[in-house]
Protein backbone atom coordinates (compact mmCIF):
# COMPACT_ATOMS: atom_id res chain seq x y z
CA UNK A 1 0.00 0.00 0.00
CA UNK A 2 1.33 3.39 -0.95
CA UNK A 3 0.33 6.65 0.77
CA UNK A 4 -1.89 7.63 -2.15
CA UNK A 5 -3.84 4.40 -1.73
CA UNK A 6 -4.44 5.12 1.95
CA UNK A 7 -5.54 8.59 1.02
CA UNK A 8 -7.94 7.25 -1.59
CA UNK A 9 -9.48 4.82 0.91
CA UNK A 10 -9.89 7.63 3.43
CA UNK A 11 -11.58 9.86 0.84
CA UNK A 12 -13.87 7.07 -0.35
CA UNK A 13 -14.74 6.26 3.25
CA UNK A 14 -15.84 9.71 4.25
CA UNK A 15 -17.65 10.24 0.96
CA UNK A 16 -19.66 7.06 1.44
CA UNK A 17 -20.40 7.83 5.10
CA UNK A 18 -21.64 11.28 4.12
CA UNK A 19 -23.73 9.77 1.32
CA UNK A 20 -25.30 7.36 3.82
CA UNK A 21 -26.08 10.33 6.01
CA UNK A 22 -27.72 12.09 3.05
CA UNK A 23 -30.21 9.29 2.53
CA UNK A 24 -30.93 8.55 6.20
CA UNK A 25 -31.09 11.89 8.04
CA UNK A 26 -34.52 13.07 9.10
CA UNK A 27 -33.71 16.75 8.80
CA UNK A 28 -33.52 17.61 5.11
CA UNK A 29 -31.16 20.53 5.71
CA UNK A 30 -28.73 18.15 7.39
CA UNK A 31 -29.09 15.91 4.36
CA UNK A 32 -28.18 18.84 2.13
CA UNK A 33 -25.13 19.75 4.22
CA UNK A 34 -23.95 16.15 4.18
CA UNK A 35 -24.53 16.13 0.43
CA UNK A 36 -22.01 18.95 0.25
CA UNK A 37 -19.48 16.79 2.12
CA UNK A 38 -20.12 13.87 -0.22
CA UNK A 39 -19.77 16.08 -3.31
CA UNK A 40 -16.52 17.47 -1.94
CA UNK A 41 -15.28 13.91 -1.52
CA UNK A 42 -16.04 13.27 -5.18
CA UNK A 43 -14.10 16.43 -6.05
CA UNK A 44 -11.10 15.08 -4.12
CA UNK A 45 -11.42 11.84 -6.07
CA UNK A 46 -11.25 13.81 -9.31
CA UNK A 47 -8.10 15.54 -8.06
CA UNK A 48 -6.53 12.14 -7.31
CA UNK A 49 -7.42 11.14 -10.88
CA UNK A 50 -5.45 14.15 -12.18
CA UNK A 51 -8.61 15.73 -13.54
CA UNK A 52 -8.14 19.07 -11.80
CA UNK A 53 -10.54 20.84 -14.12
CA UNK A 54 -13.39 18.58 -13.05
CA UNK A 55 -12.43 18.78 -9.38
CA UNK A 56 -12.72 22.55 -9.57
CA UNK A 57 -15.99 22.43 -11.46
CA UNK A 58 -17.37 19.84 -9.07
CA UNK A 59 -16.93 22.39 -6.30
CA UNK A 60 -18.08 25.36 -8.37
CA UNK A 61 -21.22 23.79 -9.83
CA UNK A 62 -22.30 21.23 -7.27
CA UNK A 63 -21.34 22.89 -4.01
CA UNK A 64 -21.53 26.49 -5.15
CA UNK A 65 -24.80 26.26 -7.05
CA UNK A 66 -26.71 22.98 -6.85
CA UNK A 67 -26.38 22.45 -3.08
CA UNK A 68 -27.32 26.05 -2.41
CA UNK A 69 -30.32 25.78 -4.74
CA UNK A 70 -31.43 22.69 -2.80
CA UNK A 71 -31.05 24.37 0.59
CA UNK A 72 -33.06 27.33 -0.72
CA UNK A 73 -35.80 25.00 -1.90
CA UNK A 74 -35.90 23.16 1.44
CA UNK A 75 -36.52 26.50 3.12
CA UNK A 76 -39.14 27.48 0.55
CA UNK A 77 -41.23 24.33 0.80
CA UNK A 78 -42.14 23.71 4.36
CA UNK A 79 -45.41 23.37 6.12
CA UNK A 80 -45.85 25.56 9.14
CA UNK A 81 -46.95 22.71 11.35
CA UNK A 82 -44.76 22.39 14.40
CA UNK A 83 -45.01 18.65 14.98
CA UNK A 84 -44.12 17.83 11.41
CA UNK A 85 -40.71 19.50 11.52
CA UNK A 86 -38.87 16.26 10.98
CA UNK A 87 -41.30 13.65 9.68
CA UNK A 88 -40.47 10.02 9.17
CA UNK A 89 -37.91 10.12 6.32
CA UNK A 90 -38.75 6.84 4.60
CA UNK A 91 -41.83 5.70 2.74
CA UNK A 92 -43.46 2.28 3.04
CA UNK A 93 -41.27 0.69 0.38
CA UNK A 94 -38.11 1.18 2.43
CA UNK A 95 -37.28 -2.53 2.68
CA UNK A 96 -37.93 -3.13 -0.99
CA UNK A 97 -35.74 -0.15 -1.86
CA UNK A 98 -32.94 -1.50 0.29
CA UNK A 99 -33.18 -4.83 -1.48
CA UNK A 100 -33.13 -3.17 -4.88
CA UNK A 101 -30.06 -1.12 -3.98
CA UNK A 102 -28.33 -4.24 -2.69
CA UNK A 103 -29.17 -6.13 -5.88
CA UNK A 104 -27.87 -3.34 -8.08
CA UNK A 105 -24.65 -3.21 -6.09
CA UNK A 106 -24.31 -6.99 -6.33
CA UNK A 107 -24.73 -6.87 -10.08
CA UNK A 108 -22.20 -4.08 -10.46
CA UNK A 109 -19.71 -5.85 -8.18
CA UNK A 110 -20.04 -9.05 -10.19
CA UNK A 111 -19.36 -7.16 -13.39
CA UNK A 112 -16.34 -5.45 -11.90
CA UNK A 113 -15.12 -8.81 -10.56
CA UNK A 114 -14.98 -10.14 -14.12
CA UNK A 115 -12.95 -7.14 -15.20
CA UNK A 116 -9.87 -7.67 -17.33
CA UNK A 117 -7.05 -7.12 -14.84
CA UNK A 118 -4.58 -6.10 -17.56
CA UNK A 119 -6.25 -2.72 -17.88
CA UNK A 120 -6.05 -2.03 -14.16
CA UNK A 121 -3.06 0.27 -14.11
CA UNK A 122 -2.36 3.69 -15.53
CA UNK A 123 0.10 3.26 -18.41
CA UNK A 124 0.81 6.74 -19.72
CA UNK A 125 2.00 9.56 -17.54
CA UNK A 126 -0.35 12.38 -18.35
CA UNK A 127 1.49 15.05 -20.33
CA UNK A 128 -1.47 15.60 -22.61
CA UNK A 129 -3.07 19.04 -22.33
CA UNK A 130 -6.63 17.75 -22.17
CA UNK A 131 -8.04 21.16 -21.32
CA UNK A 132 -6.82 22.86 -24.51
CA UNK A 133 -7.69 19.82 -26.61
CA UNK A 134 -11.16 19.74 -25.12
CA UNK A 135 -11.68 23.41 -25.88
CA UNK A 136 -10.64 22.86 -29.48
CA UNK A 137 -12.56 19.63 -30.04
CA UNK A 138 -15.69 21.09 -28.52
CA UNK A 139 -16.30 23.59 -31.30
CA UNK A 140 -14.83 21.78 -34.29
CA UNK A 141 -17.30 20.11 -36.68
CA UNK A 142 -15.42 16.80 -36.55
CA UNK A 143 -15.53 17.01 -32.76
CA UNK A 144 -18.50 17.85 -30.59
CA UNK A 145 -19.95 20.91 -32.28
CA UNK A 146 -23.49 19.52 -32.36
CA UNK A 147 -23.54 18.39 -28.70
CA UNK A 148 -22.04 21.77 -27.80
CA UNK A 149 -24.92 23.69 -29.35
CA UNK A 150 -27.47 21.16 -28.07
CA UNK A 151 -26.16 21.61 -24.55
CA UNK A 152 -26.74 25.31 -24.85
CA UNK A 153 -30.30 24.73 -26.07
CA UNK A 154 -30.90 22.25 -23.25
CA UNK A 155 -29.74 24.74 -20.65
CA UNK A 156 -31.87 27.46 -22.20
CA UNK A 157 -34.87 25.13 -22.11
CA UNK A 158 -34.15 24.22 -18.49
CA UNK A 159 -33.93 27.89 -17.52
CA UNK A 160 -37.10 28.88 -19.33
CA UNK A 161 -39.00 25.81 -18.15
CA UNK A 162 -37.96 26.16 -14.53
CA UNK A 163 -38.84 29.84 -14.45
CA UNK A 164 -42.19 29.13 -16.07
CA UNK A 165 -43.05 26.27 -13.73
CA UNK A 166 -41.89 27.93 -10.53
CA UNK A 167 -42.92 31.54 -11.03
CA UNK A 168 -45.16 32.21 -14.00
CA UNK A 169 -47.28 29.05 -13.82
CA UNK A 170 -48.22 29.89 -10.27
CA UNK A 171 -49.00 33.45 -11.23
CA UNK A 172 -51.48 32.42 -13.92
CA UNK A 173 -52.95 29.84 -11.55
CA UNK A 174 -53.61 32.50 -8.98
CA UNK A 175 -55.21 34.70 -11.62
CA UNK A 176 -57.60 31.91 -12.57
CA UNK A 177 -58.57 31.44 -8.96
Amino acid sequence: MTPIQYFFLFTAGFTLLAALGVVTRRNVVHSALLLVVALFGVAVTFAILEAGFWAVFQVLVYIGAIAILMIFMVMLTRRNVADETYPEPFNDNMRLAFLAALLVFGGLALTIGGWDAARETMTVPLDYDALREFGRAMVSPDGYLVPFILVSVLLLAALVGAIYVAVLGNKSQEERE
Partner: protein, 118 residues
Amino acid sequence: MQDNWLFIGIAVVIAAMLPMLPIAAARILSPHRPNRLKNETYECGMETVGDTWVQFKVQYYVYALVFLIFDVEMIFLFPWAVAYDNLPLLGVIAGLVFIFLLLDGLAYAWRKGALEWS
Protein backbone atom coordinates in the same frame (compact mmCIF):
# COMPACT_ATOMS: atom_id res chain seq x y z
CA MET B 1 -0.04 17.75 -11.90
CA GLN B 2 -0.56 15.57 -8.85
CA ASP B 3 2.10 17.57 -7.00
CA ASN B 4 -0.03 20.68 -7.49
CA TRP B 5 -2.99 18.97 -5.90
CA LEU B 6 -0.87 17.64 -3.05
CA PHE B 7 -0.05 21.25 -2.23
CA ILE B 8 -3.73 22.24 -2.46
CA GLY B 9 -4.70 19.34 -0.20
CA ILE B 10 -2.16 20.36 2.43
CA ALA B 11 -3.31 23.95 2.08
CA VAL B 12 -6.90 22.84 2.75
CA VAL B 13 -5.82 21.19 6.00
CA ILE B 14 -3.76 24.19 7.07
CA ALA B 15 -6.48 26.66 6.09
CA ALA B 16 -8.89 24.76 8.33
CA MET B 17 -6.39 24.62 11.20
CA LEU B 18 -5.49 28.33 11.18
CA PRO B 19 -8.92 29.62 12.31
CA MET B 20 -9.30 26.70 14.73
CA LEU B 21 -6.25 27.87 16.73
CA PRO B 22 -7.68 31.19 17.98
CA ILE B 23 -11.07 29.60 18.62
CA ALA B 24 -9.40 26.91 20.72
CA ALA B 25 -7.36 29.57 22.54
CA ALA B 26 -10.55 31.48 23.24
CA ARG B 27 -12.20 28.35 24.61
CA ILE B 28 -9.34 27.94 27.09
CA LEU B 29 -8.95 31.57 28.08
CA SER B 30 -12.50 32.90 28.08
CA PRO B 31 -15.02 32.52 30.91
CA HIS B 32 -17.90 30.13 30.35
CA ARG B 33 -20.99 30.87 32.45
CA PRO B 34 -24.08 30.05 30.44
CA ASN B 35 -27.56 30.66 31.79
CA ARG B 36 -30.99 30.28 30.34
CA LEU B 37 -31.62 33.94 29.61
CA LYS B 38 -28.24 34.47 28.04
CA ASN B 39 -28.61 31.51 25.74
CA GLU B 40 -31.97 32.52 24.37
CA THR B 41 -32.34 33.46 20.74
CA TYR B 42 -31.46 37.12 20.29
CA GLU B 43 -34.26 39.22 18.86
CA CYS B 44 -33.49 42.60 20.38
CA GLY B 45 -34.93 41.55 23.72
CA MET B 46 -38.25 40.28 22.44
CA GLU B 47 -39.10 36.69 23.20
CA THR B 48 -38.97 34.69 20.03
CA VAL B 49 -42.37 33.67 18.69
CA GLY B 50 -43.08 30.62 16.60
CA ASP B 51 -40.71 28.81 14.33
CA THR B 52 -37.52 30.16 12.79
CA TRP B 53 -38.50 28.78 9.44
CA VAL B 54 -40.33 31.78 8.04
CA GLN B 55 -41.76 31.70 4.54
CA PHE B 56 -39.36 32.97 1.87
CA LYS B 57 -39.94 34.52 -1.51
CA VAL B 58 -39.59 32.40 -4.64
CA GLN B 59 -37.22 35.08 -5.97
CA TYR B 60 -34.37 33.51 -4.01
CA TYR B 61 -34.88 30.34 -6.03
CA VAL B 62 -34.95 32.23 -9.33
CA TYR B 63 -31.63 33.97 -8.64
CA ALA B 64 -29.99 30.72 -7.61
CA LEU B 65 -31.43 29.07 -10.72
CA VAL B 66 -30.07 31.63 -13.16
CA PHE B 67 -26.73 31.49 -11.35
CA LEU B 68 -26.66 27.70 -11.70
CA ILE B 69 -27.32 27.85 -15.44
CA PHE B 70 -24.60 30.46 -15.98
CA ASP B 71 -22.22 28.45 -13.83
CA VAL B 72 -22.72 25.30 -15.87
CA GLU B 73 -22.12 27.15 -19.12
CA MET B 74 -18.71 28.10 -17.73
CA ILE B 75 -17.68 24.44 -18.12
CA PHE B 76 -17.68 25.09 -21.85
CA LEU B 77 -16.65 28.72 -22.00
CA PHE B 78 -13.41 28.38 -20.03
CA PRO B 79 -11.87 25.66 -22.25
CA TRP B 80 -13.13 27.61 -25.25
CA ALA B 81 -11.28 30.71 -24.05
CA VAL B 82 -8.11 28.76 -23.25
CA ALA B 83 -8.04 27.09 -26.67
CA TYR B 84 -8.71 30.38 -28.47
CA ASP B 85 -5.42 30.38 -30.38
CA ASN B 86 -6.19 27.10 -32.14
CA LEU B 87 -9.79 27.84 -33.02
CA PRO B 88 -10.97 28.32 -36.60
CA LEU B 89 -13.39 31.17 -37.25
CA LEU B 90 -16.26 28.65 -37.21
CA GLY B 91 -15.33 27.63 -33.69
CA VAL B 92 -15.35 31.24 -32.56
CA ILE B 93 -18.79 31.74 -34.09
CA ALA B 94 -20.07 28.55 -32.44
CA GLY B 95 -18.93 29.89 -29.09
CA LEU B 96 -20.62 33.21 -29.75
CA VAL B 97 -23.87 31.44 -30.65
CA PHE B 98 -23.54 29.51 -27.39
CA ILE B 99 -23.17 32.72 -25.38
CA PHE B 100 -26.01 34.32 -27.32
CA LEU B 101 -28.41 31.50 -26.42
CA LEU B 102 -27.38 32.00 -22.80
CA LEU B 103 -28.22 35.67 -23.07
CA ASP B 104 -31.62 34.67 -24.47
CA GLY B 105 -32.48 32.86 -21.26
CA LEU B 106 -31.60 35.92 -19.24
CA ALA B 107 -33.70 38.09 -21.54
CA TYR B 108 -36.66 35.75 -21.09
CA ALA B 109 -36.36 35.89 -17.31
CA TRP B 110 -36.10 39.67 -17.49
CA ARG B 111 -39.08 40.18 -19.79
CA LYS B 112 -41.32 37.89 -17.78
CA GLY B 113 -40.50 39.84 -14.65
CA ALA B 114 -38.91 36.89 -12.86
CA LEU B 115 -35.93 39.02 -11.86
CA GLU B 116 -38.00 41.64 -10.06
CA TRP B 117 -37.47 41.64 -6.32
CA SER B 118 -41.02 42.63 -5.37
